[in-house]
Amino acid sequence: MKPVDKIRSRTVVLPTRDIDTDQIISARFLTTTSREGLGKNVFNDLRYNADGSEKPDFVLNRPESEGCRILIGGNNFGCGSSREHAPWALLDYGFEAVISTEIADIFCNNSLKNGLLAIVVDNNTHQWLLDNPGADIAIDVAAATITLPGGKIVEFGIDGFAQHCLTEGIDQLGFLQQQTSTIESYEENRSWKP
């Protein structure tokens, strides 16, 4: 995983509550055996008509959304299915961060393991972001802060380990493998065997 430290971008706003991972990437695109190439299908049914033409009103299809790398979602973003294809698709599309007031557990875990920042902010900050689509904001992972236009800085909570792995580009599998001897000893010494 490549290190993720600072992101600066204009925002795209998708204010709907409870955006589930089926909407982020429909199951019919899960027959892939690769992590790449899912960006073209992200939010497919919201982005495209049945004939494949773009829905001009959908936020990602508007010209001002071009190049935006930060997505502001409604509360409880990423609920539902555990499919890691959801963060893969968002990353492949070009997003580097998702901000909401609440982010579903599995989606959040999957995102952070792939270098997609999943950030929970307070209600006031969230409302400001919803009300100001296209705002140019800067995220600093190491400092755990977001700088809003005009210089106001807001803090966000992030798990210390996830933060360390993101900023250093650490692969968590490598971290687990370093525990091999402890795992072996656990297997030998436990009081019952599965």
């Binding site: 204010p15 089926d22 555990s82 890691e84 687990l176 525990q179 795992i183 019952w192 599965p194």
Partner: protein
């Protein structure tokens, strides 16, 4: 004796390999890893790229379920019914299992089926185990007092390679279900009511423990239905303390302990209960005796209403969007809405008791001409048992389709989908926009409500068909 602990805390503590610190999550040992064709290919690629092996093939249970056709399969060509991508995914899973020395419960095994149906029916799912799968409905296995949760593909790779996961300890939520479920009201209705009460994010960050008289009175398959949908409330997992019902279900199953090992296991399982005085981070109480059959009206499982109650009103944009998508009006009940498809199956309601419940209502009746009804058993063993009991004949005689085991229309990966605008009454777990096909409308319900609606041709109260 240490401080009073919850069931979850006991299972968690038993599996901590390395303690959690502020800087690092706990290393948690996994006792059973169930894998399927959709969320594993990229994990096996990581093993190959790094020259790694599967650490514990004996604790890994692979099967094929998500992208498999529900028509008979004996050759590769038969798989193509579900599409070329789906067929290739199945073939790759077969190859991965062969290359990594895993015993795939695939075609010809007689044991293939939905991940969360076969774990319990084989007796591999047991109290006190940690169980994961690259599928969010892994919470199902918590019905046995296991700690079971869904993981992403990166974590599937972690478990394949190390049999461990990096985890922060979740919080706990007690859901006490007092009283007795009225006749005609099922476990599905109960869990839909619970999700309606606490919301689709009511359990986020928590492990739920379901307790109380109504839970204790349930058979295992009903408990599985309840735990299955814990994730639909956002919860990490759902658990129920094991008891006599749990032991009766497991005894004699092929992968359950036998002989002296069985007695030892039962002794250990008896301790798996929340101690008096143990505290939960949150708690909720539900009175089972007040419940009625439930149906969803919106586009998430928390948008749920009693079958004869009016659809509620809401003003915010997300609520209106959901009602527009569903073509449903506030103030009117869901009964009477015309139905195009009825789907009975899935890891929520694809077990033998679910098929039996649907067949009981279909017995001697006909599915309405305007309705296509599909009954999809959760596993090959469920299919076999249903056929031994003659349930397939009841289903076929009523004019419904009796199909091969798999996830089918719950996720719509295998060609079993609804067309835009069609309304499906589904015993599955998600009514998300487009879940069962682009523009498809899903109403979640129990197998009884689904079967009653198939006969009526519109959403119908199953209590009038008993």
């Amino acid at each position: 004796m240490s401080n009073p602990s919850t069931l979850f805390e006991k299972v968690w503590a038993d599996h901590v390999v390395v303690d959690e610190t502020p800087e690092t999550p706990a290393v948690l040992y996994i006792d059973l890893h169930i894998i399927h064709e959709v969320t594993t290919p990229q994990a096996f690629s990581v093993l190959r790229e790094n020259g790694l092996v599967v650490r514990r093939p004996d604790l890994t249970l692979p099967t094929l379920d998500h992208s498999t056709p529900t028509t008979p399969v004996s050759t590769f060509k038969d798989l193509l019914v579900a599409g070329e991508g789906a067929a290739n995914q199945v073939r790759q899973m077969q190859q991965n299992c062969e290359d990594f020395g895993l015993d795939l419960l695939g075609y010809g095994s007689g044991k293939r089926g939905i991940v969360h149906v076969i774990g319990p029916e084989l007796g591999a799912t047991q109290p006190g185990k940690t169980i994961v799968c690259g599928d969010s409905h892994s919470s199902t296995h918590g019905a046995f007092g296991a700690l079971a949760f869904g993981i992403g593909t990166t974590e599937v790779g972690h478990v394949l390679a190390t049999q461990c996961l990096l985890q922060r300890k979740p919080k706990t939520l007690a859901v006490d279900v007092d009283g007795e479920l009225p006749v005609g009201v099922t476990a599905k209705d109960l869990i839909l009511a619970i999700i309606g009460k606490i919301g689709v994010n009511g359990g986020t960050g928590h492990v739920i423990e379901y307790r109380g008289a109504a839970i204790r009175a349930m058979e295992m398959e009903s408990r599985m239905t309840v735990c299955n949908m814990s994730i639909e409330a956002g919860a990490r997992a759902g658990m129920i303390a094991p008891d006599e019902t749990t032991c009766d279900y497991l005894q004699g199953r092929s992968r359950a302990p036998h002989g002296a090992a069985w007695d030892e296991a039962v002794e250990r399982w008896r301790l798996l209960r929340t101690d008096d005085g143990a505290s939960f981070d949150k708690s909720v109480t539900v009175d089972a005796s007040e419940l009625v059959p439930m149906v969803t009206f919106g586009t998430n499982p928390g948008m749920v209403v009693g079958i004869n109650d009016p659809v509620p009103d809401g003003s915010d944009a997300s609520f209106r969007k959901a009602l527009d998508y569903m073509q449903v009006e506030s103030g009117k009940p869901m009964t009477g809405n015309a139905v195009d498809i009825v789907f009975v199956g899935s890891c929520t309601n694809g077990r033998i008791s679910d098929i039996e419940e649907a067949a009981r209502i279909l017995q001697g009746r006909k599915v309405a001409d305007s309705v296509r009804m599909m009954v999809v058993p959760g596993s090959e063993q469920v299919k076999k048992e249903a056929e031994e009991r003659g349930l397939d004949r009841v289903i076929i005689a009523a004019g419904a389709e009796w199909r091969e085991a798999g996830c089918s229309m719950c996720i719509g990966m295998n060609g079993d989908i609804a067309q835009p605008g069609q309304l499906t009454v589904s015993t599955s777990n998600r009514n998300f926009e487009g879940r069962q096909g682009v523009g498809a409308r899903t109403v979640l319900a129990s197998p009884a409500t689904a079967a009653a609606s198939a006969i009526a041709g519109f959403i119908a109260d199953p209590r009038t068909y008993s």
